[in-house]
């Protein structure tokens, strides 16, 4: 199970003229949770957005280098980012259920808009995704209600279900709990534990305790550079770089 499912080689990223990432070299292992930590503005969100090629959707943004997804370089011209994003799902910081759609329609949106019309298959997929997102029991009797009628924590799990419905192999989470209360946060963290059994998870978080709780591997970013990367236990107990140690012990950030 030591398979590298994602590997970044000399990855650089810019917003216009401003460089946001410098020569990132790291990898993620299959069926593991990798956390990315660092102070604000260090490039962690930028990095994971490079993984599913969302970074370049910002006007003027670009990236260069090599990013291997299962040994294929996703930055080659032959790759269609739209298809890539069905294999790499993403959950954002702020829960964004589609406002005009019901809970059912939200989860089914990815499948429907990609051409799936079979009612039975849609129902099955929606149920399975909601179960994986630990939301099924709470909403199974109100699938037709609007997605926005749920609480913040439920909405975020709805977004997870929506991302899972298209059956990605990797799930990227960009500070998914920062807008949520502690109880909802706990539910999402439990979720990740279950999900990693058949998915690979990458989670950006500014909360070090969260990284320590959920992640197998952790990488520390600072000012656009990857400072240190390794098993979570090692990073938090015996970091190699002094900057890592300073961040962990709260001297900055």
């Amino acid at each position: 199970m030591d398979e590298k499912i994602i590997e970044a080689i000399d990855l650089n990223a810019w917003f216009g003229e401003k460089q946001a990432l410098q020569n990132i070299n790291m990898y993620m292992q299959k069926n593991m949770v990798t956390a990315i930590i660092g102070p604000s503005g260090c490039g962690k969100s930028t990095f994971i957005r490079c993984i599913n090629r969302m970074h370049e959707t910002i006007p003027g943004a670009k990236a260069s280098g090599t990013l291997l997804f299962k040994t294929q370089n996703i930055y080659s011209r032959k790759i269609d980012p739209v298809i890539l994003r069905r294999q790499i799902g993403m959950v954002f910081q702020k829960p964004t259920p589609f406002p005009t759609m019901s809970i059912f329609d939200n989860v089914a949106a990815g499948l429907r808009l990609n051409g799936e019309n079979n009612k039975q298959r849609l129902c099955d997929a929606v149920e399975k995704s909601l179960q994986e997102a630990a939301l099924w029991n709470e909403v199974k009797d109100m699938l037709q209600k609007p997605g926005v009628s749920l609480s913040g924590g439920q909405q975020q799990r709805l977004c997870v279900a929506r991302a899972l419905a298209v059956k990605p192999e990797i799930l990227l989470l960009d500070e998914p709990c920062s807008a949520l209360d502690p109880i909802s946060t706990g539910k999402i963290e439990e979720l990740l534990h279950e999900l990693k059994k058949h998915l690979t998870i990458v989670i950006v978080t500014h909360n070090m305790q969260q990284a320590a709780r959920v992640a197998d591997f952790t990488s520390f970013f600072l000012l656009g550079e990857l400072v240190e990367f390794g098993k979570t236990k090692k990073i938090f107990t015996a970091p190699t770089d002094t900057r890592t140690e300073q961040y962990i012990t709260g001297r900055f950030g």
Partner: protein, 288 residues
């Protein structure tokens, strides 16, 4: 293996964006085409009468004598009368709604004034003929009064908006100095909103210039220049409404188109001015 990833679009995306752009771009194309066609069709009249057209008040289609002055005069006078009436009423109403009205009736009054704007011009004209006509006669004054009622919602709505955008901290500072409510409005709200209020007035003027049906029904439709506002008159839009389709000769038609061009240029200049004032208001706001 250095690949640069920039925004990738597939064919579907490119088509969609292209179609959307073409549709958006058709608007300025239509805009320019209107000017071009008007200019083209008016060329005979422009060559024949030149600049003097604007200052001549001769109007005899049989003898091929044409001059736009009576219509320009009528448009200006009726619009001016409208402003004289609508500006104090419109701004007064805006102040009332924005600063003084109790919360429960603010919405009501605002909606009622806005409804004035939804009523069709021809219905205003009908009411004007039978209700205002007996009072003011079919005259430039009557047209001015009706125009005042029609542009009042514009002045009121825009003034209201800019007044409500004045930050409360300014109002509170004035009150804290012991100002009465009127003094507070005079020193804190009105000067801040001044640019936008002037913009609303110019916008109202723009509306008055272009208004057709209500004017033609009450202005008397007489192509003459009179110093008394109680006398009938004519306006650029009214003469177009009445005589455009009946142009008896090519020259007559060309004259009509030139009148339309003059009306259009007037309206565009005034509206452009209005937007300058309102834009100044918006950028003032942002620099706060």
């Amino acid at each position: 293996m250095n690949n640069v990833a920039i925004k990738y679009t597939n064919r579907g995306d490119r088509w969609f964006q292209a179609v959307a752009f073409l549709l958006a771009a058709s608007i300025p194309v239509i805009f320019l085409t209107i000017f071009a066609m008007l200019l083209w069709q008016a060329r005979e009249s422009i060559f024949q009468f030149g600049f003097g057209f604007i200052f001549s008040s001769a109007w005899d289609p049989v003898k091929n004598q044409y001059g736009a002055l009576p219509f320009i005069y009528g448009t200006l006078i009726s619009s001016l009368i409208a402003l004289v009436l609508a500006v104090p009423l419109g701004i007064g109403t805006a102040i009332f709604i924005s600063e003084l009205a109790p919360a429960w009736c603010k919405e009501w009054i605002a909606t009622t004034v806005d409804l004035l704007a939804a009523i069709p011009s021809v219905v205003y004209g009908l009411w004007g003929v039978f209700v205002l006509g007996p009072i003011f006669g079919l005259s430039m004054l009557c047209a001015g009064v009706i125009l005042a009622i029609m542009i009042l919602p514009t002045i009121c709505a825009v003034s209201r908006e800019v007044m409500q955008a004045v930050p409360n901290s300014l109002r509170e500072s004035a009150r804290a100095m012991g100002a009465t409510q009127w003094e507070m409005i005079k020193t804190a709200v009105l000067p801040t909103a001044a640019s936008g209020i002037i913009g609303s007035i110019v916008l109202g003027l723009g509306r008055a210039i272009g208004e057709t049906m209500a004017v033609t029904m009450v202005i008397g439709n007489r192509p003459s220049i009179s110093l008394s506002i109680f006398d009938p008159g004519y306006s650029l839009s009214a003469v177009l409404a009445n005589e455009f389709a009946e142009a008896s000769s090519n020259l007559n038609f060309s004259v009509m188109v030139e009148i339309a061009l003059i009306l259009l240029v007037f309206a565009v200049i005034v509206n452009g001015l209005a937007r300058l004032f309102i834009w100044k208001m918006v950028s003032q706001d942002h620099s706060r």
